[in-house]
């Protein structure tokens, strides 16, 4: 992550374990849902899950522009 940004390419990390990139001073981090299902949530309906995924990806794209 840090190497990509050093070379001028903005990068965003979606992860559950946000303490690890925080310690490594990663710039752009979006918290995911949970370790076994980073971008999904099996307790939601398929429509709700699609909306959740969309929201996470849009948040990541917004982070790239920050």
């Amino acid at each position: 992550m840090n190497e990509l940004e050093r070379q001028g390419m903005p990068a965003v990390l979606i992860t559950t374990l946000i303490s690890i990139p925080r310690a490594l001073k990663v710039n752009r981090v979006v918290p995911g849902v949970a370790i076994p299902h980073l971008l999904g949530n099996p307790t939601l309906s398929p429509d709700e899950e699609r909306a959740l995924r969309r929201q996470l990806v849009l948040q990541a794209l917004r982070a790239l522009q920050s």
Binding site: T16, L17, S19, I20, A23, P31, A34, I35
Partner: protein, 422 residues
């Protein structure tokens, strides 16, 4: 609270017409074990194989190893799963030493766990010294469902209890008495004996189906930190079904919990042992943060001045270690962290733990899981016909990360490897 573990040593296991203990020889009728599996409609067939220490054999696809134990007064064990859900940890418990009921199979996401019974692989694992009754189940309709996963777990536990019943009338070679009065020191005035007051924070792997440990028969994925008496662990309150994590932590090891037995043995002379706090490795980050806060709070309520913290998984578990360490240190509780490392093939990786904290200044390594070991050819393979993620034949020489040798690295410290300064 007093628990007597009555140990009966088995030196030989052989097939017989009925399951019985003759001297120190355990005779086993495999048909009795297959009949136990027929109680579960999702299990189609169960093969039973016997593997002895020193045999040129490799057991593959290991999911769990269970030590046979039984309560003589009820004839059962594992409360909440087989026995009635009542508090355990008191009275008598029969233990069949030297025997492992070894469940094999593949379930969704399961990581390879193997064990060589002869040669350098056997040297690495304490489980190579056991006589293994290897259970090889097949699903009735060919599908590995969650119901089937639970059925094979229950079957392994039932087989273990069945074998232990054979030792009910045998003389015990050794009786271990575990007598910690109560969690938190019971009647003792705080610091009354001038010894440091020490607790133990016990993390369980708990990420959902096929990736859970069971506490009194229930999955621990939603567990909040709770108070645990060490005797409950020796008496079957915790069962492993966490098949997907690297570094198996078999039920056999939990029943003989190395950190709890060492802390109990030092209670009253080197330290005052306050008991354990049970917590989990939650799948979500906010829940991990909450668990660390609550664990430190419970330890503080017990009066702990120091705590030993262990983990139950690979990289993600390091986050819980560090969060718990920080919250405890902030509450004035000194910490020792025990951790299996992911230190790279040569042991020289830049980071050996996925997470870190400046407050974690006392760390005990229980081994490098990502080191590789070479295992020679064997005469016999039991539990499956291939080794997962390995293209060569299962009986041939193989090269494998140490973490796949069951017992090769221990999350709780009962490993055969150590380090010395020289």
């Amino acid at each position: 609270m007093v628990l007597d573990l009555e140990a009966v040593q088995v030196s030989q296991v052989a097939w017989g017409d009925r399951t019985a203990l003759e001297g120190s020889t355990l005779r086993v009728n495999p048909e009795e074990l297959r009949a136990i599996a027929r109680e579960e409609p999702t299990i189609g067939d169960l093969r039973v194989e016997l593997v002895n220490p020193g045999e040129s054999a490799r057991i593959v696809h290991i999911l769990d190893i269970v030590e046979p134990r039984v309560k003589p007064d009820t004839g059962t064990f594992f409360p909440g799963l087989l026995g009635e859900l009542r508090p355990c940890g008191e009275g008598r418990t029969r233990v069949l030493r030297g025997v492992g009921v070894t469940l094999t199979g593949r379930v969704p996401g399961s990581e390879e766990g193997l064990l060589d019974m002869l040669g350098p692989g056997a040297e690495l694992s304490p489980f190579a010294r056991l006589h293994h009754l290897v259970l090889v189940p097949e699903p009735a309709d060919g599908t590995v469902s969650l119901a089937y996963g639970y059925a094979i777990m229950r079957t392994a536990l039932r087989v273990a209890v069945h074998l232990a019943r054979a030792a009910l009338d045998a003389p015990a070679q050794q009786v271990e008495r575990w007598g910690l009065e109560a969690v938190g020191g019971g009647r003792r005035p705080a610091g009354g004996r001038g010894l440091p007051r020490v607790g133990y924070l016990f993390h369980l792997y708990s990420h959902g189906d096929f990736r859970d440990m069971f506490f009194y028969g229930q999955p621990t994925r939603e567990l909040m930190p709770t108070v645990l008496h060490p005797n409950e662990v020796f008496d079957g309150a915790i069962v492993s079904a966490g098949y997907t994590r690297p570094g198996k932590h078999p039920t056999h090891e939990t029943l003989n919990h190395p950190v709890l037995t060492e802390l109990m043995a030092r209670d009253g002379n080197e330290l005052e042992f306050l008991g354990a706090v049970l917590t989990n490795h939650h799948a979500g980050f906010a829940q991990k943060e909450r668990s660390a806060v609550m664990a430190a709070r419970v330890l503080r309520a017990l009066g702990a001045e120091g705590v030993v913290i262990t983990k139950d998984g690979g990289g993600q578990a390091d986050t819980d270690l560090m969060l718990a360490c920080e919250r405890c240190e902030e509450a004035g509780i000194r910490t020792v962290v025990m951790a299996m490392e992911l230190g790279g093939r040569e042991g020289n990786a830049e980071v050996a733990l996925a997470d870190s904290s400046p407050k974690a200044d006392l760390i005990v390594s229980t081994g490098n899981a990502s080191e590789y070991v070479d295992l020679p050819r064997v005469d016999r393979v039991v539990g499956g016909s291939e080794v997962a993620d390995w293209e060569g034949p299962a009986d041939g020489p193989i090269t494998t990360p140490l973490v796949r040798v069951v017992g090769g690295v221990s999350l709780l410290g009962s490993t055969r490897l150590g380090a010395i300064d020289f």
